[in-house]
């Protein structure tokens, strides 16, 4: 078996708005290997979020095939889709999507609740470990409204990590965050990527895309560019630089 984790064949998605058919994705063919860090870029309406939803098994393609970890997902049932979301994929959203009035710990435990494989029975311990990995060990009993945006996104990352997924899908993960906090989030992503997790993120800021290893650019539902990043940014170094700038300002 190759180390390809994601492969799409002529992946097409068409939305129906009344009588009119709106194509969102046209014959997309991509291949992503294990351990990659891919940034999907494009203007709004370019189909990048649609692609993300299909890759995340949140939505079904109109036609084409999607192979995840060697398995064709086209003929799977809704329950199998749910299990893939639970076992293989971790989501990080722009709006964090945490359960309100629920502690960071309980939010992080959520995927374990639906884990039918029961890989681990000690939900609490697992969730604490995940929160520790994103540096929130001291905030586990806070509810989202008591946390800053960056902290909330880190809880969301912990939640995406907790069931040890192969892939993390991040849809504009820093869209609601300031640049300093964004770099902190990218630092976490880069660290996780170093540990072997495949990361695919959607962003429309070219600066942030440079934290990835590869950029896929889309327009009008098609892939128009697919290139490897040569001058990759290191988030840890960026953080140091930003801190120095702040000190100078002070």
């Amino acid at each position: 078996m190759s180390n390809t984790i994601i492969k799409t064949e002529n992946l097409t998605k068409t939305y129906k708005v009344g009588e009119i058919e709106v194509p969102a994705l046209k014959d997309v063919n991509i291949e992503i290997k294990k351990g990659e860090f891919v940034a999907i870029m494009g203007a709004s309406g370019s189909g990048k979020s649609t692609l993300m939803n299909l890759l995340g098994c949140l939505d079904l393609p109109t036609s084409g095939n999607y192979f995840l970890d060697g398995r064709n997902t086209s003929n799977m049932s809704k329950n199998e889709y749910a299990d893939i979301r639970n076992q293989k994929i971790g989501f990080v959203f722009q709006g964090f999507n945490l359960l309100p009035r629920t502690t960071a710990l309980e939010n992080t435990e959520l995927p374990l609740m639906y884990d039918r494989m029961n890989k681990n029975n000690d939900h609490r311990k697992k969730a604490l470990e995940a929160l520790e990995r994103v540096g929130l060990a001291d905030r586990v009993h806070h509810i989202p409204s008591q946390l800053s945006g960056g902290q909330q996104q880190r809880v969301a990352i912990a939640r995406s990590l907790v069931n040890e997924p192969a892939i993390i899908l991040a849809d504009e993960p820093t869209g609601n965050l300031d640049s300093k906090t964004s770099v902190e989030v990218f630092n976490i992503f880069q660290n996780l990527n170093e540990e072997g997790i495949t990361i695919i993120m959607v962003t429309h800021e070219r600066d942030f895309a440079s934290f990835a290893k590869r950029i896929i650019e889309m327009r009008d539902g098609k892939v128009i560019k697919d290139l490897v990043i040569n001058n990759r940014l290191n988030a840890a170094e960026e953080m140091k630089r930003i801190n120095v700038e702040y000190e100078i300002e002070d």
């Binding site: 939803n53 995340g56 949140l58 329950n79 749910a82 979301r85 076992q87 609740m113 639906y114």
Partner: protein
């Protein structure tokens, strides 16, 4: 997902909006309390009727004189009275299916004694009468067969008479005069309460039958004969036996009509029980309607809740919840809501029953099976009215749910 976790999640989300949950459950609380209290009041009324009928005496059979026809004019019940003590003795000696028999000689008049005077009825009876009428003595003793034979001037007072003539003293051993005939009080009856028609059972004086007949009422005949059968199911056989004894005693030839009537309590108690049963069903159905309205309230709130928590559903779906997980979660919430409403309703009904029993004349009697039924009904309502909103939640598409604002 384990049942424990499902339950925990349901309780948690109910507790997150306490006020709304309470108001939602209120429909079920009131519904269950209404059903339980209504049935309890019905059962209480039925119990009261049964007690009243039992207080008439256990397995009581009453033989009353028949009617007379003189020159084509028929007299009313009791117009032809030929009952004598011989009839009573014959029944006592020959009838096998009875526990006791007593004549009843009715009299009455002004009683003087104690602190003043009082008008009441005097019943001349035999010692068996106490058992036949399921009556007990409060104090003193009852007269014996010898007192009856000797026509002793002794009597036993009902509690109402004691209240009116001897409010402060012990009446036992005291002398009273019934229509100027002096009697010695030897006992006091226990209070029995009201009769089925609302008159007092306790406004009475009991005295030996022969004394009353000779000294007070005069004449030769007794008013009626009271018999108690050995058991309730032997009453029909006892009636047949009594009938042949009475016919023989009155020397009636085969073609002749009975000159007496024999009645038992069965008709009376059946009719009364049936009436209160119908009342119970009626009350319970009215209350049942309020329970269903409560269920609709739960459905309403659950539907609102599904819409309001669309995002939450989206999040759960995105981390791997199956549609069935979402269905079970919302269904569990509805059931937990309705069952806890049911539990509070049952507690409330106990409280209302307590108030009714202690502060009103109405009695409420809560049967355990009524609680089980009301509780089960509340659970069924949770399932029934919770299913539609839960299915609606489970049918959501993950993407649409996540994007919902």
């Amino acid at each position: 997902m384990q049942a424990k976790i499902i339950l925990k999640v349901a309780v948690k989300s109910i507790m997150k909006s306490r006020m709304r949950s309470l108001l939602t459950a209120l429909g079920i609380i009131i519904g269950v309390a209404a059903v339980v209290v209504m049935v309890a009041v019905g059962d209480g009324a039925q119990l009261q009727v049964e007690n009243q009928i039992a207080s008439l005496g256990s397995n009581l059979i009453i033989i009353t004189p028949g009617t007379s026809t003189t020159g084509g004019v028929r007299g009313g019940a009791g117009s032809f009275n030929r009952f004598t003590f011989d009839d009573v003795d014959k029944i006592k000696n020959e009838c096998l299916l009875i526990n006791g028999v007593s004549p009843l000689v009715r009299s009455g008049g002004q009683i003087i004694g104690g602190i003043g005077n009082w008008f009441t009825q005097v019943q001349g009876v035999s010692p068996d009468y106490l058992e036949i009428r399921a009556w007990d003595l409060q104090s003193g003793e009852f007269f014996s067969d010898r007192d009856v034979m000797a026509r002793s001037k002794v009597c036993v007072l009902g509690s109402e008479v004691v209240k009116n003539l001897f409010p402060n003293d012990d009446p036992i051993g005291q002398q009273i005069r019934i229509r100027n005939v002096p009697f010695k009080v030897i006992g006091v009856l226990k209070e029995k309460g009201q009769t089925a028609v609302g008159t007092s059972n306790d406004d009475v004086i009991l005295a030996p039958s022969k004394t009353v007949l000779d000294r007070l009422s005069g004449g030769r005949f007794i008013s009626s004969i009271q018999v108690s059968a050995v058991s309730a199911d032997k009453i029909p056989e006892a009636i047949v036996e009594l009938k042949s004894i009475m016919r023989e005693s009155h020397k009636l030839s085969p073609g002749e009509e009975d000159d007496f009537t024999i009645r038992d309590q069965a008709d009376l108690s059946e009719a009364a029980t049936e009436t209160s049963r119908i009342l119970t069903i009626l009350l319970a159905s009215v209350a049942g309607v309020s329970l269903i309205v409560g269920g609709i309230g739960i459905m309403n709130i659950m539907l609102v809740s599904v819409t309001e928590r669309t995002r939450e559903i989206g999040i759960r779906l995105s981390v791997g919840a199956r549609a069935s997980d979402i269905l079970i979660q919302f269904l569990t919430e509805a059931i937990v809501l309705s069952l806890s409403g049911g539990a509070i309703g049952v507690l409330l009904s106990f409280f209302i029953a307590y108030l009714l029993n202690n502060y009103t004349s109405q009695s409420a009697f809560i049967k355990p099976e009524v609680i089980m039924i009301a509780f089960g009904f509340a659970g069924a309502i949770g399932v029934f009215f919770g299913f539609y909103p839960a299915r609606k939640a489970a049918a959501l598409n993950p993407i649409d749910a996540l994007r919902y604002e």
